[in-house]
Symmetry: C2
Subunit: 314 residues, 2 copies
């Protein structure tokens, strides 16, 4: 996987070198050069190899997926008014909102160009990219609502996060000319992996080691963000007759007792439930990977990557 | 041409009906339903017919061009802080900036999906779309500069406006399987038509009948916008030793003597020069159309459309 990351980083640099000398491209270069794990392009390359293709053949598509992912970060950071991205100033802070909008648009176009080599790949990418936008739309809509259900939340993170992991794997499969059935199987692997991945993020926010996670413990709870933990916690509290979470949410964010909320989630059994949910998605993902027609040796790398993504502490 | 507009409007409505029921799509529907001339999709259909294709075969591509054009309006209106679009509230005013960013992104994706039927069309569209972004980037950059040359201005409007007219015509040609040479010729026709079209806009702003143009006479001059007229006027003023324009620009916009600026442009001969420039682009456009291998009868419609676009009073 480290090999793949090096391949991808080299391809990113080649791509940057070929860009026109125009201020439109400076924010893309900045964002694409921030240190990143390259999970999505890595999945595209691994999936291509899983089905007997060469990683080299899927480099453009892998880069396109990473560009698209970074485009969503550039625009999401404007919408969420996030000042930082990967520990550095966000593009809209560094260059202003207008440049962040326009460079993001151009980045999306650049991503699409890289996907245009194969009709099947374009189709997969277009559908997935729209679903990612639908997911972001729902995420923003949830901020105005207090009645978001677990099913709605799960569908939102499926669209916003899981679909792109699935997309990366499906694109790699399409480059390797995998059958439609196998492509659907590896896509389902990615979707459940993505759901588990996002739930792991939610759990780490409340129960992770802040020195490893690198942000305030319970930051999502402080912000009143409707994550799986909070939605399920509020449900369980109604069943148990408790009021800790509800009362904390009624307070202004800076006066909220986040430690009390975390301890209520633990007592209500929500942490255990979330871990079980992650495990459920992980098992579904692995079952789907298992049903793919490919050698065990090649599946092993994807299983190892899944374990890395889900067992992480940061 | 009225027939084509009806075809396009019907196709827009069919497309709207097939959209998912998601708040992401409401701003697109709103913008696409505002009354519009449908110049760009009309050009795509006419170009397809010019090369022996049927208008019906280029409907998706024509719609894709119109969607892309409206996507640029949605995002440009945010960047320019324009409250109105076609006499109605702009999307960012009606739904907020975040929704306008996100719906615009989805609109661009939708446009790309409609162009994905032919590899040649995707290539043309991707290249042109990026040039439109580069044009918008330069336009924004000009606001911070006082030394924009006529050549720079012309290149900016070529990228921002003319390239998309050229794109529409090239896409129509590609759908009809025109040769690369003929596609280049009809593309050049569109590019010079687009340049003349934008210069006509600039002239109408200063010298049009405000009751027909529908906005304040000299609004661009009031805003100190570097149009062809103002850039050339400042050049001529230096040659003549005048100071009217320079002094007016040094004043705050609301104290600017716009009537004096308009009369200075007239006296300096800039209006006559601009009309000559429009005519030069028009002639180059018509020469390029003339060199296309197609029947005179089919070229006649495109010539008539060019005359309509350039002789307009609003």
């Amino acid at each position: 996987m480290e090999q793949h990351r090096a391949l991808i980083d080299a391809h990113v640099e080649r791509w940057i070198t070929a860009l026109p000398d125009d201020p439109l491209y400076a924010p893309m270069v900045y964002l694409m050069r921030l240190p990143a794990k390259r999970v999505r392009p890595g999945l595209a390359l691994l999936s291509c190899e899983l089905f007997g293709g060469r990683a080299e053949d899927a480099m453009d598509e892998a880069l396109g997926i990473e560009l698209f992912h970074n485009f969503t970060l550039m625009h999401d950071d404007i919408m969420d008014a996030s000042p930082l991205r990967r520990g550095h100033p966000a593009v809209h802070v560094q260059w202003g909102v207008n440049t962040a909008i326009l460079s993001g648009d151009a980045m999306l176009l650049k991503a699409y160009q890289l996907m245009a080599g194969r009709t099947k790949v374009i189709g997969i990418f277009g559908r997935c990219a729209l679903q990612v936008c639908e997911g972001q739309q729902r995420d923003m809509g949830f901020e105005q609502r207090n009645d978001v259900t677990l099913a709605e939340y799960t569908e939102m993170i499926r669209l916003k996060t899981a679909v792109l992991l699935s997309c990366a794997l499906q694109v790699g499969a399409a480059v390797a000319d995998a059958s439609d059935e196998d492509r659907a199987r590896i896509g389902a692997f990615g979707e459940h992996l993505g759901l588990a991945f996002q739930l792991r993020d939610d759990v780490l926010d409340a129960f992770g080691d802040p020195s490893k996670v690198g942000k305030e413990q319970g930051g999502d709870l402080r912000a009143g963000k409707k994550t799986w933990l909070l939605i399920r916690g509020l449900e369980r509290e109604v069943q148990e007759g408790g009021t800790v979470l509800r009362e904390a949410l009624a307070m202004p964010a800076d006066q909220r007792n986040v430690r009390g909320m975390i301890s209520a989630l633990e007592t209500l059994g929500v942490r255990v439930e979330a871990e079980a949910e992650i495990e459920r998605h992980n098992e579904t993902a692995l079952r789907s990977l298992g049903s793919v027609r490919a050698t065990e040796e090649r599946k092993r790398t994807l299983r190892a990557l899944a374990a890395l993504l889900l067992d992480r502490t940061s």
